[in-house]
């Protein structure tokens, strides 16, 4: 899985391309950890190109949430597709994240 990164102002947008499964999930969590340190938490996860996630993918998302939680932050997800939203709803994890329509709106939440 490739993780595209771009800046929306001072906010880093992580945009994984492909399903977040298996070792890719660990890679995403690892990259999020690095970006968290570099940006002091100013990053969002653009899920537009995540077709689906498995249990390890959900764990990775939770791991990122737990990374942010001690500093009062919540993982900002944007453009989550129907499959991902359904997976989050079914597992009761949807409320663990902040959901945004797109990366621009997510970045604006840092204002």
């Amino acid at each position: 899985m490739e993780i595209e990164e771009h800046k929306q102002g001072a906010v880093t947008v992580l945009r994984p391309r492909g399903p977040v499964i298996g070792d890719d999930a660990k890679g995403l969590a690892r990259r999020a950890h690095e970006v968290f340190t570099q940006t002091r938490g100013r990053f969002v996860l653009d899920a537009a190109e995540i077709p689906f996630v498995d249990s390890q993918g959900l764990e990775a998302l939770l791991e990122i949430t737990e990374l942010l939680a001690p500093s009062g932050q919540t993982l900002k997800l944007c453009q989550a597709g129907e499959t991902l939203r359904e997976a989050l709803n079914l597992t009761g994890l949807s409320d663990e994240f902040e959901h945004y329509e797109d990366a621009h709106h997510a970045a604006r939440s840092f204002l």
């Binding site: 771009h6 800046k7 929306q8 102002g9 001072a10 906010v11 880093t12 968290f36 340190t37 570099q38 940006t39 002091r40 938490g41 100013r42 939680a69 001690p70 500093s71 009062g72 932050q73 329509e101 621009h104 709106h105 970045a107 840092f110 204002l111």
Partner: protein, 611 residues
């Protein structure tokens, strides 16, 4: 669990063990009695069966003896010894008796089922002695008297086969014994398997009843762990309850003593904040820092607390403000913005004030990440400046031509025509700038929407060509429109799509130097999807700047474009419009050679119209 006193449970344990043993002993006694009753029943049943079988058999043999006796009388009277002996032998063989014989009163055997026992060759003509005609049973023998007229009395004797019921009875008794032993063994196994568990459940049950009765002491409620895992789990629950109470008590004590920020509820509340909170004592040592402070300062929380104030609290205006607040205890709040030396360009806003009434703390420093806010402010300021400039340029042209018209317009028809043409172009330019701004406002408010209808692309590009030919000629730029012979009618928002293409073309003209070329190329897919390429031979974009061109209010950090005006919203808006149509805009560029922006609009289904 190690701390739980189990002195009380010894009594309960003895009671429970004794109770459990009584139950077990009673169960075993009942099983033994049941086994004995079963055995006795089997014995009685088999004995009864044996007696019945023997009586029946004896009656049968008695009847057979009667028949043999009657036959013997006739044969002895006729002197047919051979026939008599054959009948006796056949009787023994076919009637299931062990032996059959005919004897004279003196004991001599006339006929026997075993010929070897016959000791009378010929039967005498007469013989003495009496014989009873009634049947008589002696042990296994059934005897019947025979009276041979004119010759004397004799006796028919049949020996009954010993009954086989004894074997059946032995088998039944043996079976009962084996099943009883197996049953007892299984009971023992089950008992041993569940003995400890039953004991644990009983002990826990008793503890629960005591708890329900108001007992609260862990030492009283605890159960000896030798009862097994259930007892261990119960004791764990009790220990966790005690630990929770202890923490609760500690937190309350902490709160009551004013130390809520260190480990109590206050700390948890502060960890929910996205802004950092740092408390410093009079010597500048950190006594508390919340999670956000640790992240924003880039220092692990454990390393922060108890250490001197880290950067940027230890230098410059911040250190000065902290020193002042420590010394004066003033209620005033000093705010200092600090640019951090990191790759993210972080800007922190630090608020410093005296921490009155907070134990072990002299100064409170609040930390806010204003990086994005600063960037947004800078972008807005730049946008306002650029927008002002963009608006001023056409307005200046319009004003100049109107003044010329007022002064000389009545006499110079050519001037009038040129002025009207320029005013028309500049008004259209103003219109686009205002439309851009309105669209940006809609985007910011999240209220932008498409007003779709059929769009004739050939008409739209004809209009675009007319709009830009003059501008391109003025700047000595070759503007080419390369269209397929036939363009489809697509379903889209004409105004917004036109605005997006306007922005791409005007952008290309803006960054292409005199003598250059701008080509607008349209290609149509088989499904009526449209790709519009705007290719210029302009200054190009450095690879590291490509991401910035689509940022709202963002402009490339390039010396070459400093003098070129632009609001920084055109490309961002164009891409938003493309995405609203389900398409996108991509860019390929080579520095100093030119750029190609490609806007794609997929084929969109027309909504069904009412007839």
């Amino acid at each position: 669990m190690g701390g739980i006193d189990l002195t009380r449970s010894a009594w309960a344990r003895r009671w429970l063990v004794r109770g459990e043993s009584l139950i077990a002993s009673t169960a075993f006694a009942c099983a033994a009695v049941l086994l004995c009753v079963t055995g006795a029943s089997a014995w009685w049943m088999t004995d009864t069966l044996e007696r019945d079988a023997e009586a029946t058999r004896r009656a049968e043999v008695s009847e057979i003896a009667g028949v043999v006796a009657s036959t013997s009388e006739l044969l002895l009277a006729a002197g047919e010894t051979s026939a008599l002996r054959r009948i006796v032998m056949e009787t023994a063989q076919t009637r299931g008796v062990r032996a059959c014989r005919v004897l004279l009163p003196d004991g001599r055997v006339v006929a026997d089922s075993e010929p070897a026992r016959i000791d009378t060759g010929e039967v005498p003509e007469t013989w003495s002695g009496n014989a009873s005609g009634d049947a008589e049973s002696v042990g296994l023998l059934v005897r019947r008297g025979i009276s041979v007229p004119g010759r004397g009395a004799a006796m028919c004797e049949l020996e009954i086969e010993p009954p086989g019921v004894h074997r059946a009875r032995s088998a039944v008794l043996l079976g009962s014994l084996v099943s009883g032993v197996v049953g007892l063994a299984m009971m023992l196994l089950v008992y041993r398997r569940f003995r400890s568990r039953l004991g644990a459940i009983g002990a826990v049950r008793e503890a629960l009843l005591e708890l329900a009765g108001g007992e609260d002491e862990t030492a009283v409620l605890a159960v000896h762990e030798s009862f097994g895992p259930e007892a261990v789990a119960w004791n764990t629950l009790l220990a966790e309850r005690d630990e929770g109470r202890r923490r609760d008590t500690d937190a309350r004590v902490e709160q009551a003593s004013g130390g809520a920020m260190v480990g109590g509820e206050g700390s948890a509340v502060c960890d929910l904040l996205t802004d950092g909170v740092v408390l410093l004592d009079t010597s500048g040592v950190v006594t508390y820092a919340n999670g956000a402070a640790a992240v924003l300062l880039g220092v692990a929380r454990d390393d922060l607390i108890g250490a001197p104030a880290p950067a940027p609290l230890d230098a410059g205006d911040v250190a000065e403000a902290i020193g002042e607040a420590t010394k004066s205890g003033s209620r005033r709040r000093d705010v200092v913005d600090v640019a951090m030396d990191d790759e993210g360009g972080t800007v922190l806003r630090l608020g410093v004030r005296a921490a009155r009434g907070v134990p072990d703390a002299a100064v409170l420093v609040s930390i806010e990440d204003v990086t994005q806010l600063k960037l947004a402010e800078d972008s807005r300021n730049a946008f306002v400046a650029q927008a002002t400039h963009e608006l001023r340029a056409p307005l200046t042209n319009i004003r100049l031509y109107i003044e010329q018209l007022i002064d000389e317009g009545e006499e110079d028809a050519a001037l009038r025509a040129r002025a009207i043409n320029v005013i028309s172009q500049e008004t259209a330019r103003l219109d686009r700038i205002v439309a851009d701004m309105l669209s940006v406002s809609e985007l910011e408010a999240g209220s932008i929407a498409l007003r779709e209808d059929d769009v004739r692309l050939d008409q739209m590009f004809d209009s675009l060509q007319l709009d830009y030919v003059a501008q391109a000629n003025d700047r000595n730029i070759t503007l080419r429109f390369e269209m397929p012979p036939k363009l489809p009618v697509i379903h889209a928002d004409r105004d917004k799509l036109c605005l997006a293409i306007h922005n791409l073309i005007s952008n290309a003209l803006k960054y292409t130097p005199s003598g250059g070329t701008v080509t607008v190329r349209v290609s149509v897919g088989t499904d009526d999807s449209v790709a519009i390429e705007v290719v210029d031979s302009g200054i190009g974009i450095a690879p590291e700047q490509i991401d910035k061109v689509f940022e709202r209010f963002g402009r490339a950090d390039d010396e070459r474009v400093r003098d070129i005006t632009g609001s920084g919203i055109g490309l961002s808006l164009a891409r938003e419009v493309a995405r609203l149509h389900g398409g996108d805009i991509t860019v390929e560029s080579v520095l100093n050679e030119g750029s190609t922006f490609t806007l794609t609009v997929p084929a969109r289904e027309r909504p069904a119209r009412a007839a």
